[in-house]
């Protein structure tokens, strides 16, 4: 059965605490902590972008896959912060990692769903037999306007997944996608920060799509929430994924492993994929895993995965998500954060 043969994630070392952002704008940090369940978020360094994050995550995935990069026939990077509006992120990545030139490359965008979209297409090409291996990545250096609620969550990081048909670490049991025209969050060409519809991003957008896709894949597979050991839902803040999971009938224990948002923030296209990587970091053979992404605009992709005997064997070849979240960190002041995120106007 086709599935994931290698995975990896990357989270930058810089952090800023919710409290530091709240202090800057005269907001109550407790409200953020309790209301959004956000403690801190990752911040990209001055030389980090979607491409460097994708390369780091894909390198880890290659280590775990243990395959010759030349055998990868397709590379897709999903992001809403591709460094170039015109010029692919994927071409730089394939050159750095020694993939190609015999490779199909594309950059994807579907708000926060672009990562699972890349995974979906990569998996489809492998399953069809069109390519031997395919790489799907979700990575972002997310944008959030200063003094917007998004500023507390928009963070940096990503995860990469190599799909193949042999020696899989996790089988893809089923996939499902659910899409509608729901304009809850958008960024127009040339605009620096996204805009959003406030509470409209909740019930009619996030919850409608996440719950519909998750319910449909459960129906399609005949599985019940109790059959899963882990589930991860897109994490725009701490609260939404827990609430969606609870509504579907998942317990806190099933959700907490992939629930990386309180200390990582929302890595947009990298959000649920990074949560999935954190689950693969600890899953045992035969564990069932549900992942449902959400991208504004809007849509959700769901995957049901089943871990294999290969997973624990190859897991140690690269760092875990938690080791990056809980390992060496550098805390920034709001001033440093503003400099790193290029919010300060300077002379060239």
């Amino acid at each position: 059965m086709s599935g994931i043969v290698g995975y990896g994630a990357f989270v930058p070392r810089n952090r800023i605490k919710s409290e530091e952002i709240a202090r800057q704008w005269g907001k109550d940090p407790e409200t953020i902590r309790r209301g959004l369940l956000l403690e801190e978020k990752s911040v990209p360094g001055i030389d980090e972008d979607t491409i460097t994050i994708s390369v780091a995550a894909a390198q880890a995935a290659l280590e775990r896959a243990g395959i010759d990069p030349k055998r990868i026939g397709a590379v897709y990077i999903g992001s809403e912060s591709h460094p170039y509006a015109v010029k692919p992120s994927g071409t730089i990545l394939v050159d750095v990692l020694g993939i190609g030139p015999e490779v199909h490359v594309a950059d994807f965008e579907f708000a926060c769903k672009a990562g699972t979209e890349a995974m979906f297409v990569a998996f489809g090409l492998v399953e069809s037999g069109r390519v031997e291996y395919a790489l799907g990545i979700g990575a972002d250096t997310s944008q959030g306007a200063p003094n917007d609620a998004l500023e507390f969550s928009a963070s940096a990081g990503g995860a990469a997944f190599i799909f193949g048909r042999k020696n899989v670490l996790a089988e893809v049991v089923e996939t499902y996608s659910y899409t509608s025209d729901t304009p809850d969050f958008w960024r127009r060409e040339g605009e620096f920060y996204p805009r959003h519809g406030g509470r409209f991003t909740g019930e009619p957008a996030y919850f409608k799509h996440v719950l519909s896709a998750s319910r449909a894949i459960l129906d399609k597979t005949g599985l019940k929430p109790k059959d899963f050991r882990f589930a991860v839902f897109h994490m725009p803040n701490g609260k939404f994924p827990l609430s969606a999971g609870k509504t579907l009938g998942f317990s806190k224990e099933q959700l907490e492993t992939g629930w990386v948002v309180p200390t990582m923030g929302n890595t947009y296209s990298g959000s649920s994929p990074t949560g999935l990587a954190a689950i693969l970091d600890v899953a045992d053979p035969d564990d069932l895993i549900l992942i449902t992404s959400f991208g504004s605009g809007a849509g959700s992709d769901s995957f049901v995965l089943k871990a294999t005997e290969e997973l624990p064997r190859r897991r140690p070849r690269a760092p875990t998500v938690r080791s990056m979240l809980e390992g060496r960190r550098r805390y920034l002041t709001y001033g440093e954060y503003s400099k790193y995120r290029e919010k300060i106007i300077v002379n060239q």
Binding site: D28, E30, T31, G35, G197, G198, R199, F200, E203, P204
Partner: protein
């Protein structure tokens, strides 16, 4: 003047109703009110609405709503008095029937607040632009100053205000149309996020979509439409200083007092005759001030009313049995009509788990701005 009765009522659920537009909400409530009274036509219609223009870019609601109700041609107009728009629409419908000009008149209110507008800024346009809004103050800030003044003058506490929210949520939990059908504890209110000190999130009514409509006719024709009409026996409208800074006593709502006095006089009753009351609790402090201005409690004693159980279901004067604006929701233009519907249903014995036993006379008080306008109506079981 002819005697006037309400013979039918209709109301949408209040809340974030993403799938319904301004006109959808209106048509749902208006059709239900007409069906409720088996009425097949209207002679006129008033639509209470604070700011369709700013919330969804739609003005000219008289013809729009008549058209979408399938009644283009009838006399119809939109009525605006900020958050008291619904109450004022009811008063105009009452006057039109009482005067003998029309028989079947619909009084409706509608607001679509959840459609992307900057709600706080839109609502602030009901304050005094030159004296207040330009300087940055918004309604939570204005009511916070009223709360401070009340605390200073009468020793009212944050717990007193929190008790109002606890009571109204307890009532609203019993109302199928309420936006928040859940109870809250005193601790939850006291620990909720600070919005404008001393007001916390759970002291404030929510942003809501919704519509409400009542059908009025001369009392002498009421039995054609229902077995249980409810008479409107008093109507009072008053204005007060637009800016809070111009009030003699910021903790006392003059317009509420004046409008209540006029309604009591027309009805020929005393405050102690009232069995059930809906007041404009846009913030919990507002309920406290309104009770005093309506002479339901002594001046300065509003703070203890909810805490002592006086105004709870089962208390001496149950206030906001619907859940009030706090728990039921506050689609601003619809609120005044929704309050009338709660009293209408209480007096007909249709309020289910929140029924006030043997309610015979009820009062609804609807306020605009920080109290610059107030409409009071008194109703009696027939």
């Amino acid at each position: 003047m002819r005697e006037v009765a309400i013979v039918g009522a209709g109301m949408t659920r209040f809340g974030e109703i993403w799938q319904s537009s301004l006109r959808d909400l209106f048509v749902e409530a208006a059709t239900e009110a007409m069906r409720n009274a088996s009425a097949d036509h209207l002679d006129a219609m008033y639509v209470g609405n604070m700011s369709g223009g700013q919330f969804v870019g739609q003005e000219h609601l008289g013809p729009l709503m008549a058209d979408h109700l399938g009644m283009a041609g009838i006399p119809a107009a939109r009525v605006e008095s900020a958050c008291a728009s619904g109450g004022v629409a009811l008063r105009l419908a009452f006057m039109e029937v009482a005067s003998g000009m029309s028989d079947l008149v619909l009084a409706a209110g509608v607001e679509k607040m959840n459609d992307g507008a900057d709600v706080t800024a839109v609502l602030a346009s009901a304050a005094d632009q030159e004296a207040e809004a330009y300087h940055g103050i918004t309604f939570p800030g204005l009511y916070a100053m009223i709360a401070r003044a009340h605390m200073e003058a009468y020793g009212t506490t944050e717990e007193d205000m929190a008790a109002v929210s606890v009571k109204n949520h307890r009532h609203g939990a019993l109302n199928p149309k309420a936006q928040f059908r859940r109870e809250v504890t005193l601790e939850e209110v006291m620990n909720s996020s600070l919005v404008a000190a001393p007001l916390r999130l759970l002291h404030c009514s929510p942003v809501s979509d919704g519509a409400a409509a009542v059908l009025l006719c001369p009392l002498e024709r009421a039995k054609e439409f229902t077995d249980r009409p409810v008479k409107i026996i008093g109507s009072g409208l008053a204005t007060g200083s637009m800016a809070l800074a111009d009030r003699n006593e910021p903790a006392f709502l003059d317009s509420v007092s004046l409008s209540a006095g006029r309604a009591y006089k027309m009805a020929g009753i005393k405050p102690s005759d009232i069995d059930v009351v809906e007041v404009h609790d846009c913030f919990s402090i507002a309920e406290i001030c309104c009770l005093e201005a309506l002479c339901l409690v002594e001046r300065g004693k509003g703070g203890e009313a909810a805490r002592s159980g006086l105004t709870a279901l089962g208390g001496k004067v149950p206030v906001n049995t619907s859940g009030g604006l706090k728990s039921k929701g506050h689609p601003v233009g619809a609120t005044g009509v929704a309050q009338a519907i709660e009293i209408f249903e209480q007096l007909r014995g249709e309020s289910g788990d929140r029924q006030v036993a043997d309610a015979s006379i009820g009062l609804a008080q609807n306020m605009g701005g920080s109290g610059a306008s107030s409409a009071v109506h008194i109703f009696q079981r027939v």
